[in-house]
Amino acid sequence: MPEFSIQSSVDIARRLEIRGSDSRSWVVLLLPSGSSDTALRNLLGDLSSLLQRPTRVFDLRSSSFEKLSEILHEPEDDIVVLVAKTNLDTERWSALDLMRSGLERKGPIILWLSPDCVPNLSEQAPNIRSFVGGSIFYVGPDGGLMSEADRQKRLAELVQFYGLSNKEVVNRAQAKTLPSEPHFVEWLVLLGRGDLV
C-alpha cells in the first residue's frame, strides 16, 4: 500500500513559501502516531518564524462552520490550521465540503488530521480533496535534523583533529578532566552523552 510522503514542518514552510503569499493553498498534514501537541506547536513555530505570518488554530469538531467562514476572513492572509485529531462524522465532512467556497481565502489552510480522516475526505468531501490534490503529507521529524552520516563525519573530524578516540573523550569527561572548550561539549552531544556535559 503506497504511503503519502513524510515532510518536516520546515519542508512544509518551504512549499508554502514557493507557492507564493496569496496562493490560497490547501494542505493536509497527517498527525504522527502517538503525537502530542508538541508536533503542532513545532509546526506553528516553524511556519510563523519562516513565513513571518501569524498562525491561528481551530478545532473542526467544535467550530461552527458558519462562524469559521467569517473568522477565516478576519484576516484572510494569515496561516490557519484546522484540526481534527479524531475523525469527523460523514455529515460534518459533507457540510465542510459544501462550505468550501465560504472558506476559500488568500492565506494557506492546513488541515491537521488524524490519518483515519483521509478516506472520509475523499468520499464525503471531494471538492476539498480536489483542492488539496496530492498535498497530503505525514508530519515527519524536524527539518534539519542531523543525519547519522553527518554525525559520524563530525565525530571523525574531531577524532582526527584532537588525536583522541571517542572512548577517551567519554573517559575523560567521566573523570572530569575533559577540556571545557566548545568542541568537547559538541563531541559529547554527538556521542549521545549529554549527561556528561
Binding site: M1, P2, E3, F4, S5, D11, R14, R15, E17, I18, R19, G20, S21, S23, R24, S25, W26, L50, L51, Q52, R53, F65, E66, P75, D77, D78, S94, A95, D97, L98, M99, R100, S101, G102, E104, V118, P119, N120, L121, S122, E123, P126, N127, R129, S130, F131, V132, G133, G134, S135, I136
Partner: protein, 415 residues
C-alpha cells in the same frame, strides 16, 4: 502581509527562485477562475468552446434552462464565467453570475433560495443603474426591501389582540386590548432554515416588477447558478431547484446551472428532465491525438520548467481532469524546487503522481478496487449501480463520453 522570504535570492538562486515562483503563480489549482481568466491563462477552446453553446442558447431563447454537468475540477466555473463574459460582450442579455455556495450554506438550501439570491442581485443592479427616475428609485428600494426580507428574514413588532374570551374579575382594572410582540420571520438564505412551507409566490411579484425595471434598461436577463453541483444527491438537488426554476421560466429568465454528475446516470437522470438541455463537461482525452491538455500547459508557460516528456507525463496522469492537470504541474515544480533541481524531472513527476494516486486510493475497499481493475482490463463498467456512480462522483473513475469510462491514471498507477 509580505512573505519573509520575498526578497530576491542572490546569484543563480535569484533566477532559479524567480523562475519557479513565476511558474507556480501560473499553475495554481485553487486560484479563482475569474482571476485566471483575467490573467489570460485560460485556453478557451479546451472544451471546444462549450461556453459559446451555453451562452448562445441562453441569448437566443429567453427562458431556456440549461444544465452544465461535470465532475469535480472539470472546469465548470471557468466555462460559466466565459459564458457570462460573452453575453456581456454581445450586449443583448445581462448575465448574473451567482455562486450560490459563496452566498449561503448549501446544506440548508431550500426551495426559494435561488430566487432569493437572484432577487438580491437583480435589485442591487437595478438600483445602481443610471436612468432611474426618483419615483422608480423609491419603488425599487421598496422592492429591494421586500426581496431582502424574503432572503434574510425580518423582525417586526406586531400587535396581538387579546382573545375576547379572556375574563377579568376586577371591574376597576383597565383591560388591555392586546400586547406588542416581537415576531421573527426567517429568510431563505439564513441558516439554519426552519422547515416551513415555502411561499414561492410571495417573491413572484417583486421579481416581476424588478424584471420590468431591468428590461427597460437591458433586453434579456440570464442568471447563472454555480455551485449546485455540490448537491450531490439528486433528490436534494430537485427539492431545491424545481420550484425556483419553474418560476424563472415563467418570468422568461434564462438559466444556466451546474448540476451533480449523478444527473447523467441512474436515478439522477430525473434531473435532466427538468432542463431544456444538458451539457456534459467530460474529462479531456489524453491520447496523443489530442494536444488540448498540452496547450493548457503551454499557455501558462509550462515549458519554462517542463520538458516535452514530462509535459506528456503530467497530461497523461491528470486523466484529463483540469484541476488535476494544474495540480500535477504545480506539485512537480514544487518537488523539483525542494529537491534543488533546476527544472522538473521524471522523479519529480513520479513522486507527485504517487501522491495524487494515493489520495484517490484511500477509502477504497476491496470490492471497489476490483471494480476498477475490471474496468481497466475489460472496459466493463455498470454505470447504473449507485456504488459505481459514487466512484464517478469521487473521480476515481472518469467519464470521457457516455460510453467511455476509465480509471483515473494516477490512481491506476498505485493500485
Amino acid at each position: 502581509m509580505p512573505m519573509a522570504l520575498s526578497q530576491s535570492l542572490p546569484g543563480g538562486q535569484v533566477q532559479r527562485r524567480d523562475r519557479f515562483r513565476k511558474y507556480m503563480q501560473a499553475f495554481n489549482p485553487t486560484a479563482s477562475a475569474q482571476d485566471v481568466i483575467d490573467a489570460g491563462l485560460v485556453f478557451e477552446n479546451l472544451h471546444r468552446s462549450l461556453y459559446l453553446n451555453l451562452a448562445g442558447r441562453a441569448d437566443l431563447e429567453p427562458g431556456s434552462q440549461q444544465l452544465l454537468v461535470g465532475g469535480v475540477g472539470s472546469g465548470k466555473t471557468t466555462e460559466l464565467l466565459l459564458a457570462a463574459r460573452w453575453l456581456r460582450q454581445q450586449g443583448n442579455a445581462l448575465p448574473f453570475y451567482i455562486d450560490i455556495t459563496a452566498e449561503t450554506d448549501l446544506s440548508a438550501l431550500n426551495s426559494g433560495s435561488l430566487l432569493a439570491s437572484f432577487g438580491i442581485h437583480l435589485a442591487s443592479w437595478v438600483l445602481r443603474s443610471a436612468g432611474l427616475s426618483k419615483e422608480n428609485e423609491q419603488e425599487i428600494k421598496k422592492l429591494y426591501t421586500k426581496v431582502k426580507e424574503y432572503a434574510y428574514g425580518k423582525t417586526e413588532r406586531v400587535w396581538v389582540p387579546y382573545d375576547d374570551a379572556v375574563d377579568f374579575d376586577d371591574d376597576d382594572y383597565e383591560i388591555p386590548e392586546g400586547y406588542y410582540d416581537t415576531r421573527k420571520t426567517p429568510g431563505k438564505l439564513k441558516v439554519p432554515l426552519p422547515r416551513l412551507l415555502r411561499d414561492i409566490q410571495s417573491i413572484r411579484e417583486p421579481l416581476e416588477k424588478l424584471l420590468g425595471a431591468a428590461w427597460e434598461i437591458q433586453k434579456d436577463i440570464v442568471v447563472i447558478f454555480d455551485g449546485l453541483d455540490r448537491l450531490l444527491a439528486p433528490d436534494k438537488f430537485l427539492a431545491v431547484v424545481h420550484q425556483d426554476l419553474r418560476l424563472l421560466r415563467g418570468l422568461k429568465v434564462s438559466v444556466l446551472a451546474t448540476g451533480p454528475i449523478a444527473a447523467l446516470y441512474g436515478v439522477g437522470r430525473s434531473i435532466a428532465d427538468h432542463f431544456d438541455r444538458v451539457q456534459h463537461l467530460a474529462a479531456i482525452a489524453t491520447d496523443s491525438a489530442s494536444s488540448f491538455l498540452q496547450t493548457v500547459l503551454e499557455k501558462r508557460g509550462g515549458f519554462e520548467l517542463l520538458s516535452r516528456h514530462e509535459t506528456d507525463s503530467v497530461c497523461h496522469f491528470s486523466g484529463g481532469v483540469l484541476r488535476d492537470l494544474i495540480s500535477l504541474a504545480r506539485d512537480s515544480a514544487e518537488e523539483a524546487y525542494i529537491s534543488e533541481h533546476d527544472s522538473i524531472g521524471p522523479s519529480d513527476v513520479e513522486k507527485v503522481v504517487q501522491q495524487l494516486g494515493t489520495s484517490y486510493l484511500r477509502g477504497l475497499g476491496p470490492a471497489e478496487i476490483q471494480t476498477l481493475k475490471t474496468l481497466d482490463k475489460s472496459r466493463s463498467f455498470r454505470v447504473d449501480l449507485p456504488a459505481n456512480v459514487e466512484l464517478l462522483v469521487t473521480r476515481r473513475i472518469l467519464e470521457y463520453s457516455s460510453t467511455d469510462f476509465r480509471v483515473h491514471p494516477a490512481l491506476l498507477s498505485v493500485i
